[in-house]
Amino acid sequence: MAKRKRHKMEFEIEDVNLLPIMNLITLLIPFLLLSAQFIQIGVILVEPPRISSGGSSGGPNNANQPEKRELNLTVVVTGDGFSVNYKPNGTPVSLCPEKGKQPCIKAKMVGGKKTYDGHALQKLLFERVWKPFMKRNSLEPDKMKSNLFKDWGRVAILANDDIPYEVIVKVLDATREFPPEAKGVVSGRLACEFKKPLGEDEWVMKGNCMFPFAQISSQ
């Protein structure tokens, strides 16, 4: 009788004992929650500042094509706002819509805080610089030979010493990324991304960038 009973017991389906796993998981979750990062940290790549008056540092330029011009796109950041100028024909031209009015994009006081309009700068660069020259320029390596300007994709940012760092980051965003208005003009996703493949030394550009190589200096 007893033997038969034991035999029967072996075939009974027992529930899995989840208690130890539950113990483990309930301990792990608070610990991981504590150490979890809910904000994602990224980077913006910048070129080293020019120390002496020596030539520009590296980048896409072809020394065997002397006829190429330099665009010298410059964004000046002062306490009053942004001004933009470039040299499409060898002479510096201000990009302000109204001539002689400096700065072009004025910083506004919003709620007692000085606010710079990054989007306006982005739009200005896109409409006045990128769009008129885009057919003859490209950041694609294979089309480099047909480029008009050897420093296409570069932008110099001149900032006053007392400008808060977050404004510089805003300018970097405005020069690097396309504005939402570029949808339809630029094919693909409007995002500029740099990636560093594992084990490599160089960053590789991915996605659509407007003027991704920024060199910031003090004014």
Binding site: I41, I51, P164, F194
Partner: protein, 188 residues
């Protein structure tokens, strides 16, 4: 006896029996039913996997502190890579976890810690040179080329001058690439 029972009594007995059986059944059910935790386990496992995924994905973490080091927000999508990190907070400049210089009023490096032309932070220069030498010898023994790169995590409110001094110092020590740490505003 049985046939002497009226049909009424029979029905009553049957009802009692039925009730008893029902109660027995209910008691049995209550005893044998364990807590249903399968769905809870499912949820917990999913949470666990997500937390584990976010745990080790970033090569470097920047400890942010209110009124000291808050990174600016940006639309940049690029992720960081391993390199020398310089933290510029409102109170100090820290290189790889070691403080090299103080920051006064959340604005300036004391003038006695600057070089004579005011562009180079002397202690920072020494520390970066030391780190570069170390990394170079490590890279050469591994047969690799070393590209000195610096990762700068600066507070959003510090003046540009302070960051510029750090940049000048690092490029004086021949650091070739710089990346600014930001908090991503769009996912990806």
């Amino acid at each position: 006896m049985a046939d002497r029972m009226t049909s009424e009594e029979k029905a009553r007995l049957e009802r009692i029996e039925a009730k008893k059986a029902e109660r027995r059944e209910a008691a049995k059910k209550f005893r044998n039913d364990p807590l249903k935790i399968t769905s809870l386990m499912d949820a917990l496992t999913i949470i666990l996997i997500f937390l584990l995924k976010s745990y080790g994905s970033d090569p470097m973490q920047v400890p942010q502190k209110k009124n000291e080091l808050i990174l600016p927000k940006s639309d940049s999508m690029s992720n960081m890579a391993e390199c020398v990190d310089i933290q510029v907070s409102r109170t100090s400049i820290v290189v790889k976890g070691k403080a090299v210089s103080k920051v006064v009023d959340g604005k300036n490096v004391p003038s006695d810690e600057l070089s004579t032309d005011g562009h180079i932070i002397v202690k920072l220069k020494e520390r970066l040179e030391e780190l570069k030498k170390k990394a170079e010898s490590a890279a050469s023994s591994a047969g690799k080329k070393f590209v000195p790169e610096a990762f700068i995590a600066a507070d959003q409110k510090v003046p540009w001058k302070l960051v510029a001094q750090v940049l000048y110092t690092a490029s004086y020590v021949k650091y070739k690439k710089f990346s600014f740490a930001i908090v991503k505003t769009r996912g990806g």
